[in-house]
Amino acid sequence: MFISSQNSPPSFKDFTLVMPAVAVGNVGQLAVDLIVSTLNMSRVGYIHTDCLIPMTGNNPYATCKEDAEELHTPAEVYTAAELKMAVLQIRAPIIQTKSKKFRQLLVSWIKASGFSRTVVLSSSHAYQRDDQQLQGTPLRYLVTPSLLKVSADALKDLGWKEMERVSAFPGLTDANTEPRLYIPGGGITKGLYTDSCAEDLPLAVLLLFCSEGDNIPDAFTLVNHLNNWLHLLENPSQKPNKWKIPTSWSLLFGSGIPPALF
């Protein structure tokens, strides 16, 4: 359920929504963090639901002492009105038995809000790629028919690679089994995509094959890839890096080490 944090509910009419799928390496979530902190987006509301594991903390994008003490919840919506852009950040895992409910909640909220398009940032297990997926770039995309209608040319110009359908039983040539969409480690990605196809929602999935570990470089790869399409920043890959790393990314490997160790 979307709850506005302001007195008047925000309008998302014709906005582009960018959201992560909680997936392997949390790449989508990290990429969304970069967008929110770089574009200095403001929070407009929460998605308050029992489908997510509760967590909370102070402002993950704090820039100074004054704005550090601000409570943030597992799922929040941010906007940059001048860019006609909204971002949904999801900070907690989805409760396994409620992933279908969560997908339905998202789809109905996206529909009701009138977003012009939705981009899901996701990832998939690198080790489960098949032979054809091993070659070339690790980035893939998927679009629903209703988005393809309006963005076909743009996607053609970008020259992106579409996510391959893989055979259900590799090595066996059975004419009866159709190749299927398979996104291992992608969380709700596949379900959200198929739901959106069925509901005729304009939605795109951008995903990256990766492994668990320090996934910060993966997040930059994915967000730069998105930027080629949406042009949120000009030349972000030029040095120095223009994406702003939020304060919440610190201490990824735990607390400081005892100085007496050396």
Binding site: V22, H48, P54, M55, T56, P93, G256
Partner: protein, 280 residues
């Protein structure tokens, strides 16, 4: 994830279950699933007097709600508050989950329930001690059900919560003599000054305190959580005392027993490692 030194850290949310299409479940599976879901429901049991007033549509008039999560926080209230004043037990919440004892029904009340107490001479002060394990999928429901019973106007919520110092992240090497210490986190509706430092990023709060904070943030209820980071696993008197300043703000409605008797302390601070066979 392995660190520079090779130790393996468990990191939140990094392993993701494959979202495979729901396999064609048969009816029996569905029924088992439904029954399990029903069994996992959080149930609130109020005293006859309270449940009657709730039934007639009157929510509990509450100005201060103090929730203690964890053994140290709960025992702190038992030692310093509940002994010194007249309190009525007005209800409890019961949860059933994978950590509940086998379905024999022989479970001690203390372990399975979160008990609610109301002050006799000031019924708008409510205390809850939650020491049982509430599963991740039950936290939201617990919070929703409890706050559904409370009048939201002029409600102030204070949560005391236990945590291990191992979960606390800081850039400096944490000198263990500094534990136990308090950190606070509050909703935007909270206007006062917390009695301790605010919880620094990238530290987060999870579990019941997080569920309460989320609920109160979206419903604009003034709430503060005091998280105590302790290096002792069992309940101990030093950790309990850390919570003392947190309740000084509420001195109008709750009086702390300044010096609880040793007997009371001993009763509540009894060590838990008697059952441990580590050092036998």
């Amino acid at each position: 994830m392995a660190t520079f030194f090779g130790e393996v850290l468990s990191v939140y949310s990094r392993a993701v279950d494959e979202d495979e299409e729901e396999l064609g479940e048969n009816e029996e599976d569905e029924e088992i699933r439904r029954e399990l879901e029903e069994k996992r429901e959080v149930n609130l049991h109020w005293s006859p007097e309270v449940s009657e007033s709730l039934k007639s549509g009157n929510k509990l008039q509450c100005s201060d709600f103090i929730l203690a999560v964890g053994h140290n926080a709960a025992r702190f209230l038992s030692v310093y508050v509940l002994t010194s004043e007249n309190w009525d037990a007005v209800g409890h919440a019961s949860v059933w989950n994978e950590r509940s004892r086998a379905a024999t029904g022989i479970t001690s009340e203390e372990e399975t329930a979160c008990v609610f107490y109301r002050k006799k001479d000031n019924p708008s002060v409510l205390i809850c001690q939650a020491t049982c394990y509430i599963a991740e999928d039950q936290l939201f429901q617990w919070t929703e059900k409890v706050f559904d019973c409370l009048q939201h106007r002029e409600l102030n919520v204070t949560v005391l919560s236990d945590s291990s110092v191992a979960e606390y992240k800081t850039a400096d090497y944490l000198c263990y003599s500094s534990a136990p210490f308090l950190r606070s986190l509050h909703t935007s509706a909270f206007s006062g000054q917390p009695v301790c430092q605010s919880l620094e990023q990238p530290n987060i709060v999870t579990g019941l305190p997080a569920a309460v904070l989320n609920q109160c943030e979206v419903h604009r209820i003034a709430t503060v959580v005091y998280q105590c980071y302790s290096d002792v696993t069992g309940p101990d008197s030093v950790t309990m005392e850390t919570y003392k300043p947190a309740l000084t703000k509420l001195s109008k409605s709750i009086q702390l027993d300044p010096s609880p008797s040793t007997d009371v302390l001993r009763k509540f601070a009894r060590t838990t490692n008697i059952q441990s066979n580590l050092y036998i």
